[in-house]
Symmetry: C2
Subunit: 315 residues, 2 copies
């Protein structure tokens, strides 16, 4: 189970109900932060997220509304309990941005910050652990912009106890070895392979984070069969031309990207200050004509993302 | 009448009840902003201040909690209605800070930003108009830090109508000329001088803004007979040693500075995250043992500062 917490859902400038871009993905207590607009550290506290659990930060592009909260967040992480290593990913220039602030304002971090700059030649997989990886694709926003996908590794299939009993697998450590994908040999010499007692692999969760951008193939790749697409939805369909001219998408654009890529759920975010909170239901209605499983994110709301097989039920 | 609006009263890192340093002084609709910590543009909106009325920004020093809101505020001022010139004052390095952000994030301001860098050799009066001026003094914080005083020019004394009648001054434009400080000649040849019909000059309001600093002579100069001293009060008296080691003052330090300088009123601000909101009454009580006319500022509170003669009454 993965939790997504929207820290800011506004575009360009904040309004009273919306802070600037920042979205936390929480998996087994680890926090992955996508974008860090001004005020993100305040929203982190308001959402009761523990800064010491922040392990990864991904910055899509070097526009202020996605970036200007980073120096403040990094400065206060240590006193807020962060003593381990933090991995920061962002476009080329992000390293200079951090170093400039450190020199000018004379601050020491108190933890290790590992900076990974992304350029056009950076491989698609940015980071990989045994349990998940993070991919990127270029988006189209007039400035170098990276979209991201957080991808859990598939988990082994469910253990079929009755089949194991039939085969005579003892109720002991042998079952654990089979669950981990190893074959075992029974006392009678029969070799049992994992696939004989395990169901099909259970797919991990895939979450695509795609802002800011006009509709483009990068979003489709990242959102391909995603459990959740978080998408740029700066304007309503009435402002399509202005949206595209300014490097953004409409809610309907986002819905079409979700439909094309076979995503399961769509959350709209990054709303222009022209859109008041009371305008969002109409915006969602526009998007639902194309992709029904769609909602608008609001600041400090939390979404649970379940794996495919667990649709409609807690795991 | 001058209004002071506290946008952020926290030190170093925000807590839920306290944003980072930023204080707006509003005089006849013009806004003077002192410090611009992260989140200042959000607080500006929450306080219903009109960004188009911002004319002057004064940054005390280049620590993040006083500075990191500046790029975001400057970026969004234009769309928020600012089309005139903004004067920015801050320590040497502030210009490089702005230019770095403009280049990296490719933003245009849409208005004229005039940058004035302050160094040890900068004259004490930073800016002067007919109606007010702003002074600075060096403070002691381990990094170059400027304290400020906003000083209204004295206004002419009250016009004494009965004395004017006695002298035979007609009830016409002659009275306006006398009020503006000019002498007039009556039809009978008698010359009337302004001091004959005007009371003593009415002093303008003086507001000193002094953070971050240990107690020092710079605060005393700026707060000299000030109507309001806004002072660094990061810690309670129990933490005096730590306060001074880290370049800060306690509430009692602030009270002693207010007493020594003959200030009329003291507002404490810049509270450490160690101090919860419910700790502030005790902090104020400590300060009141030294200087009774003292309160703690809280985020988004507004204070009216009356000129001396208007004590206890609206002008």
């Amino acid at each position: 189970m993965i939790e997504v917490v929207f820290l800011g859902t506004g575009a360009a400038a904040p309004i009273n109900e919306r802070n600037l871009s920042g979205t936390a993905v929480i998996r087994q207590g680890e926090i992955f932060l996508f974008d860090c607009g001004e005020g993100t550290q305040m929203q982190f506290r308001k959402a009761s997220l523990r800064p010491g659990r922040l392990r990864y930060i991904f910055i899509t592009h070097l526009h202020g509304d996605h970036l200007f909260g980073l120096p403040g967040l990094l400065t206060s992480l240590h006193t807020a309990g962060c003593h381990q290593q933090v991995e920061l990913f962002g476009p080329v220039g992000i390293g200079e941005y951090i170093r400039f602030h450190q020199q000018l304002c004379q601050f020491a971090l108190g933890y290790t910050l590992q900076i990974h700059e992304i350029s056009a030649s950076t491989p698609a997989v940015l980071w990989r652990s045994d349990e998940y990886h993070v991919e990127w694709q270029p988006l189209e926003h007039g400035i170098f912009t990276a979209g991201f996908a957080f991808v859990e590794a598939d988990r082994p299939g469910r253990f079929d106890v009755s089949r194991a009993e039939q085969l005579g697998v003892p109720n002991g450590p042998e079952r654990g070895r089979l669950q981990r994908g190893e074959s075992i040999v029974l006392p009678n010499g029969r070799r049992v392979h994992p696939e004989e007692v395990l169901g099909p692999p259970r797919p991990g969760v895939r979450i695509a984070y795609c802002l800011d951008t006009v509709p483009c193939v990068g979003v489709e790749k990242l959102a391909d069969h995603a459990d959740l697409l978080i998408a740029d939805s700066t304007f309503s369909a009435a402002d399509t031309e202005h949206a595209h001219e300014s490097g953004h998408s409409t809610a309907v654009d986002a819905a079409e990207l979700a439909r094309k890529s076979g995503a399961r759920q769509l959350l709209l975010t990054h709303f222009s200050g022209r859109l008041r909170q009371e305008d969002l239901p109409a915006l969602v209605a526009e998007a639902r004509t194309v992709f029904p499983n769609c909602s608008a994110a609001t600041d400090l709301t939390r979404f649970i993302v379940m794996p495919r097989e667990a649709d409609g039920a807690m795991d």
